[in-house]
Structures are given as C-alpha cells and as structure tokens.
C-alpha cells in the first residue's frame, strides 16, 4: 500500500484563467487526500479556462491520472495540462485511452411489474413443460427400460428413505411428545385427558405425519437431488448424456421420482408410530394406562385416516422429488448456481407440500372424508 505522500494543491486565479498547481507525487494515497477538494474546485470553475500545472509532480499513478481526467470531465472542456514529465504524460495517455474504451455491457433493465409478471409466467411455463417431459418419459419408459437403472432407484431409496429413519424417529417422537403435553393442559381442565390420545393420533395420521415426512424429504433429499443433478449440469455431464442420445429425465429424474413416491409413505408410517410412542410416554406419565391409550387410538383412528394420510404422503414425496430434480436441471452457471438450486428445491418442496395439504384439507372436508 502506498504511503500517504505530501501533496499540495494551490489555486491561482489570474484574470479569466485559473491554474490548479499540483506539487508532490500524485499517487493513490495523495489522490485520496486531494480527490474531494480538487473536484470541488473543478466544479466551481466549470466552463472557465483551466490549466493544470503538473511541473511539481514527479510521479503519477492510475489513481492520480484518473483524478486529472475527472477534473477535465467536470470542467466540460479540454483543460491545458502543463509541465508533465514524460512518465506522467505516459500514464495520463494510457489512462485516457483505457477510459475512452467503450463499455459494451448495457445497464441491467429496471424491474417493472411487466418483467416480474413475465418471469413468473416463464417459471410457471417451465414447470408445466417439465411436468410434460416427466409424463412423456413415464409413457415411453417401457421402450427405454434399459435407461432406467434399478441400482440408481435403490440407491436413491436408501439415501432418501432408510438413512432418514433415525431423523424421522427423533422428530416424530418429539412432535408426539410436544403435542401431548400441550393438549393435556387444557383437556385436563375438562377431565378429558384420555381424549388427548385420539386428538394427537388423528392429527398425526391425517395431517402431521405426511406433512413432516415431506418436510424431512425436502430438506434431506430434495436438496440432495438438486445439488447432485446441478453439479452434473455444471460439469457438462447432462450435455454429455444429451449428445449420446440418453434422456436425462429417464435416467436421472424417474428413479428419484419413484424413490420419493415410495419412501415418503414409509417415512410417514415411521413418523406416525414414533409420534404415538412420544404421546404415550407423556400420557403414561400422566397416569393413563397404556391399554386405554391403545384402545382410544384404535377406536378413533379409522383405516380411511391411514390411507388418506399415506396417499397424501406418496403425492408429497413425488412432488418434492420432482421439484428437487427440476431445480437441479435448471441450475445456472458457476459454483453459486448449485447452492441456489438446492435452496430452491428445499423451499419449493416445503411450500408445495403445505399448499397441497391445504388443498387436500378443503377437498376432504367437501367430500366428507
């Protein structure tokens, strides 16, 4: 870093002409000290005859030259520069040439509601196109069975399902425990402690089990799908598949989609059982016998609740996997793009699961299910 050099600027007026006299080296440190004052003086003298006396400047770097050119720009007319040494003149000429180069990059267009709307339509259209590609890949799967790698499906199911079990057990137990504790306090006031079992069980089996399994799937596997496929895109592996005539949707998306579809109901079952165990711990601690809890759950939770919950879970799993894969396929350029895709997969997956769950709640209510 340059040391702060001693630099002086004097302003001399003689008639219609003004001379800005610089003394001392005009390097980056000196320029930093002079910048504001010199430009202020130049702005005051706009349109007048101005001379920059550089006879006292032994050296000048790019920052110093930029200051002199900025003074000239503010002046609005060519200024006379006198007394510059050969070296200073050379730096000035070089800086002037570099400054004069046209910059090709156009400023980014301002965001208008039209561009936002157009982007949103583009995203929605992209989603529909992806859905179409997936459907076509499913339909054409029988004729392209060799592209569908069973080993890949099993690997994805293992990673998304089996390896998620400990986390699901932990979350399920804690959720059951929390729900039971929170419900027990108000229910006890009415002497309805035993109904906590049915409340928590129905809530878990119908709503929370599938939803939380989808959230775990989005957080663990949706992001992993996006990152894995995104990295393949950045490394041109998807291009390589394309030019070999191997459909990336069949090879990469379908195994993950199927894995999500299969493991989500299984994770939901694990989540439900863990939640019931957590709830039982609280209720048994409250003095309710385990048999009574079991009877209560068996009486209130009907098969319809289980099947609708598992059906929703399967759909959530497929949607979360599809969103993760699409985020991966849409990965842009550069290392940041993979991170952005993983984030988009998690956020998109969770939002989609919650929105779908809301839709199902309304639908089931209307149908009386």
């Amino acid at each position: 870093m340059a040391l702060a050099a001693k630099q002086a600027l004097t302003v001399e007026r003689s008639g219609a002409e003004t001379v800005l006299r610089f003394a001392g080296p005009l390097d980056v440190a000196a320029t930093a000290q002079l910048w504001s004052r010199a430009l202020r003086e130049a702005a005051k003298l706009r349109g007048q005859k101005l001379t920059l006396d550089l006879a006292g400047v032994p050296l000048c770097d790019t920052a110093g030259a930029t200051l002199l050119l900025e003074i000239e720009r503010l002046q609005g007319a060519p200024v006379t520069m006198t007394g510059a040494t050969e070296k200073v003149a050379a730096v000035l000429a070089q800086t002037k040439a570099a400054t004069a180069q046209p910059t090709r990059a156009a400023p980014p267009p301002a965001q208008s509601w039209r561009s936002v709307l157009s982007d949103a339509i583009g995203v929605a259209a992209g989603g529909v196109a992806f859905l179409g590609e997936v459907v076509v890949a499913w339909v054409r799967l029988p004729s392209r069975l060799r592209l569908f790698r069973l080993s890949d499906l099993l690997r994805q199911a293992d990673q998304a399902g089996v390896q998620a079990v400990p986390l699901v057990v932990l979350l399920g137990t804690l959720i059951g425990l929390i729900l039971a504790f929170q419900s027990l306090i108000p229910m006890r006031q009415f002497g309805a402690d035993i109904y906590v079992a049915s409340l928590v069980a129905i809530g878990l089996v119908r709503e929370l089990g599938p939803l939380l399994a989808a959230v775990v799937l989005a957080g663990r596997s949706g992001s992993a799908f996006a990152a894995e496929i995104g990295t393949m895109k950045v490394n041109q592996e998807l291009d390589a598949l394309d030019v070999m005539g191997l459909d990336p949707v069949t090879m990469l998306v379908l195994p993950r989609l199927l894995a999500g579809l299969v493991v989500a109901p299984m994770l939901t079952v694990v989540m439900n059982f863990s939640g019931l165990i957590g709830m039982s711990l609280v209720l048994v601690g409250d003095g309710i016998p385990l048999v009574a809890i079991g009877n209560q759950v068996a009486y209130w939770v009907v098969p319809k609740d289980v099947w609708t919950g598992l059906g929703k879970a399967a759909l959530f799993g497929a949607v979360v996997a599809a969103i993760g894969c699409r985020a991966g396929l849409n990965t842009g350029v550069g290392p940041r793009a993979v991170g952005l895709s993983a984030t988009a997969a998690v956020v998109g997956g969770i939002v989609a699961a919650i929105v779908l769950d809301g839709g199902f709640a309304v639908l089931f209510y209307q149908l009386g299910i």
């Binding site: 060799r146 393949m232 490394n235 041109q236 291009d239 390589a240 030019v243 070999m244 005539g245 191997l246």
Partner: protein
Amino acid sequence: MADPVIVGESLTQKFGTRTIFRDVSFTVAPGEIFVILGGSGCGKSTLLRQVIGLLPPTAGRVSVLGHDMYRDAEAVRERIGVMFQSGALLGSMTLLENVMLPLSMLTDLPEPACEKVARVKLALVGLADAAALMPAEISGGMAKRAAIARALALDPELLFLDEPSAGLDPITSAGLDKLILQLRHDLGSTFVVVTHELQSILAIADRCLMLDKAAQGVIAMGDPKVLRETSTQPVVRAFFRREAMDTAA
C-alpha cells in the same frame, strides 16, 4: 469430391441483445480435422454447441451427416461422439462404466461384449490400466483421454472435441495431438476440434475457421500453416505469431 459431413449456413447466435457471432458458414469434409479457433470469448464453444445440437442458433441452420440438427438430431446421435471441455465423465461411475454407458444403453450388445469393447477403447487412448478408477482419482489429461474413449465408444463417424488441450502441460497436450492424428489414421473419423492452442492447431488441423470477438464472426478460414504465412488480417497475424494486440484500439 465427397459430400461434406457438416454444413453450417449463416449461423448466428445472440444472447439477449448481445451478439456472439453472426453469419458463420462453413463445411467440413469427411476425414478432415477441422479446427475452430479464436481468442477467449469469441464464441468457439458456442458454435460447437450449435453444431452438436445443444443450442438452437438464433438464425441459420446446421446439418450433420445430412440431418438437420434441430429437426432430426436423434438420427445422428449414435453417429457422433463429443468430448466436452471438462471431460464430463459421470462422477458416480468408473472409467470403464463411463465408456460402457453408450454401448450398454444404445446397443444390444450383451454386457460382457460391452465391457470388452470399452476396454479396447480405453486401451486405444492409453488408459487400459485405469479402467477401474473413478473420475475423481485421475489427472486432467487422463480425464480428457477417458472422455475421448467414451466419445469413441460407438465408433462414430464424427468426433467433436472441445478444448482438448486446455489446462494440460505441453507434453500431455502433444500426446493428445498425437492421439487425435493416430485415431484419424486408424479409424478414418472426421474431427472437429475447438481450441486456441497454437501448437495443437499447427500440429493437427487440415483446415481451420477463425472467429473474432470484435468482428463478431469469421475472419479467416483455410489451412492454418498457409494462414500463418500469408494472412494480411492483423488479428490472424497476431494470433499465429503470438503477438500482443493494441487492446485500446
């Protein structure tokens, strides 16, 4: 004279309002090593992506082996091989599995036959001993050679190589040039190579097409050795003589 295997007609590429190149036309003859060259950012790889059907041109058309790459690309896929700049080997597979991939997916060869053919291809590029290695375990030069082996898997009539020498030391780079010439000699394939490595261009190219960023298109086409000696274009002369250009001009 035999019909050209690649015909590019008035190819133009724009991204938004930015023009990369315009009105690029060329032909490639069977058995030829055709090099697309130019400085960084002039659109060499973009032109290659157009030719192999990964990027629809803003204007113009390209036909490969008599098929339009945007209407009938499927008919050509198994007759071409592509080596990408990064190698683009699938990271979850060994080198052998990478080379076997197009064979097992696109042909009816039984698995043992696919493996044997893949081993032959790896041996052709000098990687017979590395079949069981993963892409992460090999050097940049080996990755490029493995990618060439995969591109060769289906004995393509046309091979596209994107920056085969980029990031390699001069000895490995010269080895790759030798490999390209040997493959052309042994297999009779046509090569389209994108590079800006002068030594490679002079070593392998029968003909070249030079793109220029400022001109936004082709500034020279022909035998690189002739262009080096006779071109009057300042950019072409500077490129072949490794001279700096006045960038402020």
